[in-house]
């Protein structure tokens, strides 16, 4: 009985496990609230990022090394064939580009004639993907090696050679997190090229699959329809390709059809991406 207090003093240090647990749980909840609602933790995050950077670097090192090794051991013949293929591609694209220049000029002239809103043109710069798929099980995100210092901003459109990849979610001084269009939390306003049906395209968490959950059963949409950004969300520039329809299933009992699409960008094989900076082209003031 007498010893009990002494024993307590000897073995018990600080508050009990339960108290500490509950205290830390409350602290964690407060942190989450502060982070999600008020965004007060940007500074702390930046400091902690310096710890995370070498870990990310270590994680992608094997991929980088194998890519580098692959480049080194590419044989002469492979280079030849690749060179030939690329020059062919260049030629065909140069031909298309000639038409594009003419079309663009015509478009500008017509827009100026109509006195309509200025067309938003874009300026692009290349960023390298440093870590693919942060926690790939649930989220579709990746980290690129350009950040605030290169003028990247939150909400910036990210594309690859084929189409829209996603948008910038958060930025740090020299890196940024990109949320892909296939992330379950992502949605983008799109329209079909064939007949201009406007709808919303949402991610599923699967890198090969996108959903169009708000299309009524009688919508005129068929497999292989190309979806492009409509620009109505105010985030993505209009006209960039996003996805192709892969299946349309009418659901007579339900208000909406089940429509699935596949992204046109090679989301699972990204090495480099393009960041778009909107650049407003001056147009003639309307008469």
């Amino acid at each position: 009985m007498v010893n009990r207090g002494g024993a307590n003093r000897l073995f018990r240090r600080g508050p009990s496990l339960l108290t500490r647990t509950i205290g830390l749980m409350i602290l964690a909840v407060v942190l989450m609230a502060a982070d999600s609602q008020y965004n007060h933790l940007g500074h702390v995050r930046n400091i902690l990022q310096t710890v995370a950077t070498p870990i990310r670097w270590l994680a992608v090192a094997p991929v980088q090394i194998s890519r580098y090794a692959n480049e080194i051991v590419t044989s002469r013949r492979q280079l030849h064939s690749q060179n030939a293929k690329l020059s062919n591609q260049l030629l065909s694209q140069a031909i298309k580009l000639q038409q594009l220049a003419a079309l663009e000029a015509e478009n500008h002239r017509l827009r100026a004639l109509m006195g309509s809103t200025p067309k938003v043109d874009a300026q692009a710069s290349i960023a390298e993907v440093t870590a693919i798929d942060l926690d790939n099980r649930f989220r579709q995100r990746l980290v690129i090696n350009q950040g605030k210092r290169s003028g990247v901003f939150i909400g910036q459109t990210v594309i690859d050679a084929n189409g829209i990849v996603g948008q910038v979610l958060s930025i740090e001084p020299s890196s940024a997190v990109v949320i892909l269009i296939t992330d379950i939390e992502h949605a983008i306003a799109v329209e079909t090229v064939r007949n201009g049906v406007r709808t919303i395209l949402t991610g599923t968490g699967d890198v090969q699959q996108l959903d169009l959950p708000f299309l009524p059963n009688n919508t005129d949409i068929v497999v292989d329809d190309r979806l492009v950004a409509s620009g109505l969300d105010g985030k993505f520039p209009a006209g960039y390709p996003v996805a192709d329809i892969v299946s349309v299933t009418q659901q007579p009992g339900l208000p909406f059809a089940k429509v699935e699409a596949q992204p046109v960008a090679a989301l699972d094989r990204l090495h480099e991406v393009l960041l778009l900076w909107p650049e407003v082209i001056e147009s003639e003031p309307s008469p």
Binding site: L17, M32, D133, L134
Partner: protein, 160 residues
Amino acid sequence: MKPTFNTRRFLLLLVVALVLTIIPLPTLIDRLRPDWVALLIIFNALYWPRTIGVGVAFLVGILLDVVNAELFGQHALALVVVAAVTLRLYQRIRMFPILQKMITVFILVLIFQFMLFWVEGVIGTPVGGWQRWSPAITSALIWPLIEWARLRWQRRRPNY
């Protein structure tokens, strides 16, 4: 007889666990990826309960949040709960035969995933299905390997 806690080794294992958590893998294998950091915390709380408490679990959780670029405190909350349960029961769990230990680890990782699931539900987009719960199974399956490594390490340096 028991090996003492080695801070340098713990930090090294922590870095390895974090790297294994974010290392890019093909999609199918990726969904079966064990929760390495949760395993690390369970293991250390089980065998060094005086050193690895809920405080360390909290800090490691914050680090995991940063590395994953997720909401601050999400993994911290989950790891604190897992560590607390482990610390409450460590004397019993240590005595369990390996199969029972694996079942315990399965339940602990399930708690870990459930906490994350719950937080995501509050924020807005929970992801359920088998991909959510499959790490618990793989984590339990990998546990004998961890125990084996511990015994091996212990045998090599019995005097600590």
